[in-house]
């Protein structure tokens, strides 16, 4: 089943044509990796899925992006509900300078739909889902800044999960982490794919090979190839894909 679908997506930053006629079908409850050389538009594509590019002045977008049945760029879309439904985790762990608890409850607090006691339950459940609960349950009200980098990144995932997102967008979530924390996040992605569809940008081809069901290769703003990971890694269809996978450029 297709969860997220980009069709004929074009994006301009001013005169800079960054995404060129991108088509992509993200499968539900699967992990999809996006790879490609620096500056090819991976982050930009990722950020069109939760409309974070809307924050940038001078951006022009055409084409369509569907979440399930709904066009997310349609006028009647509630931008804030959409962003809550599509979690995002950034390259550098960016917990708020608040307590661990307040970080996870942030999305619930601003949505204002939950009782206080429910919030505590959801926070606990979210922290358990990222295997952080046992490490932090005795210091929920300490600053999130006191956690290690890897813990902070898992906290950021928990913070997104608390909103019960349908899709999780991860933009190079492990590039600022040590190998051990990286391995942990990869395991976590695999464990989470039962509950959310995951789209992960990575510079680490091996990482895509380890965790992704599907891989998309982008080059200079174009979607060059999109296939099941094993297929792409064994018999790439495009010469550019092959060159990138073999490290000929990057």
């Amino acid at each position: 089943m297709v969860k997220l679908q980009a069709q004929n997506l074009n994006l301009y930053f001013g005169k800079n044509h960054v995404l060129k006629d991108v088509n992509l079908d993200i499968q539900d409850k699967k992990i999809t990796a996006m790879i490609g050389p620096s500056g090819c538009g991976k982050s930009t594509l990722l950020r069109t899925f939760n409309r974070m590019n809307d924050l940038i002045p001078d951006v022009k977008i055409s084409g369509s992006v569907r979440l399930g049945e709904n066009d997310i760029y349609a006028g009647k879309m509630d931008l804030y509900k959409l962003r809550a439904k599509i979690g995002m985790v950034f390259q550098k762990p960016n917990p708020f300078p608040k307590s661990i608890f307040k970080n996870v409850s942030f999305g619930l607090d601003i949505a204002g739909k939950h009782q206080k006691c429910e919030i505590a339950d959801i926070v606990e459940e979210s922290l358990k889902a990222v295997w952080l609960w046992d490490e932090v349950k005795n210091r929920l009200h300490c600053s999130a800044m006191s956690l290690s980098g890897g813990q902070q990144q898992r906290l950021c995932i928990a913070r997104a999960l608390a909103n019960e997102p349908e899709v999780l967008l991860l933009d190079e979530p492990t590039s600022a982490l040590d190998p051990q924390s990286t391995a942990r996040i990869e395991e976590l992605c695999l464990a989470l794919k039962d509950r959310v569809s995951i789209l992960i940008v990575t510079h680490n081809i091996a990482q895509a090979g380890r965790i992704a069901d599907f891989t998309a290769f982008m080059y200079l703003g174009e979607m060059i190839e999109y296939a099941p990971t094993t297929k792409m890694f064994t018999v790439p269809q495009d010469k550019r894909t092959e060159a990138y996978l073999t490290g000929a450029f990057g």
Binding site: N50, M52, L55, P57, Y80, K81, L82, R83, A84, G87, M88, F90, K92, N94, P95, F96, P97, K98, F106, G107, D109, I110, A111, S143, M145, S146, C156, R159, A160, N163
Partner: protein, 283 residues
């Protein structure tokens, strides 16, 4: 060898500069303190002036300065903060925004006596608030507005872009981002600059000459419409209009010591707060 020599020369030069600066500060403090020291006492702080300003203390001036400063900051801080939020997150980039910023920076550089004239024209005469506590506080507020705006702009720019993006990505509206992330994160820096503004406002003389200050008033201010005595103006008045310099000059220096101590106290408070918050800050 040559490098060593030039390093030595550089070090020597820097040391001289530092020693000179410290010497100026030392001489400055000594000359104020030595001439004002003898009149200082608890009674000096807590009594009204007596016998045609040749004896007694400075209590009404202290109280006046307290109210002027408090009111001015209470007016300027929220107003400046709101302006700053507008500039930071609502104003669209363009000629209008640039014009606004130029205006604010120009205002920040305007000599304070001109704010005094402006306050007299607007608050005292046009709005008929007369020479009063409220006219003076409003004038001081106008004077501190550009300082508050610039300081909070700086504090907001210091908030990492990551935090702002994280808030939006979790579904925050702009207002929620501002109230839950931007302001709390910038608050320590805004607080420190607010305290520094207090120090600045407490010492301003020119803006209150025509708008609030009176040479002598035994009574403490009872309402916003009362004229008030104020420490800096008290010094100015004693030195320029006094008829018994032998008694009044020491009182003026005594008042100067008090004002100086107040301002130093306020600035060091700001420094301490800034330092302790820096230490706690982890991004």
């Amino acid at each position: 060898m040559k490098r060593k020599l030039s390093q030595l020369l550089g070090f020597f030069f820097l040391t001289i500069c530092m020693v000179l600066t410290m010497a100026f500060l030392g001489i400055f403090l000594y000359s104020i303190f030595s001439q004002g020291w003898e009149v200082l006492s608890l009674r000096f702080l807590l009594e009204a002036p007596r016998e045609g300003m040749t004896a007694g203390g400075i209590f009404p001036a202290l109280v006046g300065t307290f109210w002027l400063t408090l009111l001015a900051v209470l007016i300027a801080l929220p107003l400046g903060l709101l302006c700053s939020i507008y500039l930071f997150s609502y104003a669209r980039k363009g000629p209008f925004l640039s014009l606004l910023k130029i205006t604010i920076n120009t205002l920040a550089g305007v000599p304070s006596i001109i704010f005094g004239l402006f306050g007299m024209a607007l608050f005292v005469n046009m709005l008929s608030l007369d020479v009063s506590l409220i006219s003076g506080a409003l004038t001081l507020a106008v004077l501190s507005l550009p300082i508050v705006i610039n300081a909070s702009q700086e504090a907001f720019s210091g908030v990492p872009r990551d935090f702002i993006e994280a808030a939006y990505a979790l579904g925050a509206t702009k207002r929620q981002m501002i109230t839950k992330v931007l302001i709390p994160t910038a608050a320590p820096n805004i607080l420190t600059s607010a305290i520094l503004v207090v120090g600045r406002v407490a010492g301003e003389t020119a803006p209150i000459i025509f708008t609030a200050a009176t040479f002598f008033n035994r009574r403490l201010p009872k309402s916003l419409g009362d004229e008030v005595m104020a420490l800096p103006y008290h010094i100015f008045a004693l030195m320029t209009e006094g008829t018994h310099p032998e008694a009044q000059v020491p009182i003026a220096y005594g008042s100067a010591v008090v004002l100086l101590m107040l301002v130093l106290l306020i600035s060091s408070l700001a420094l301490i707060i800034r330092y302790s918050l820096r230490k706690k800050r982890q991004w």
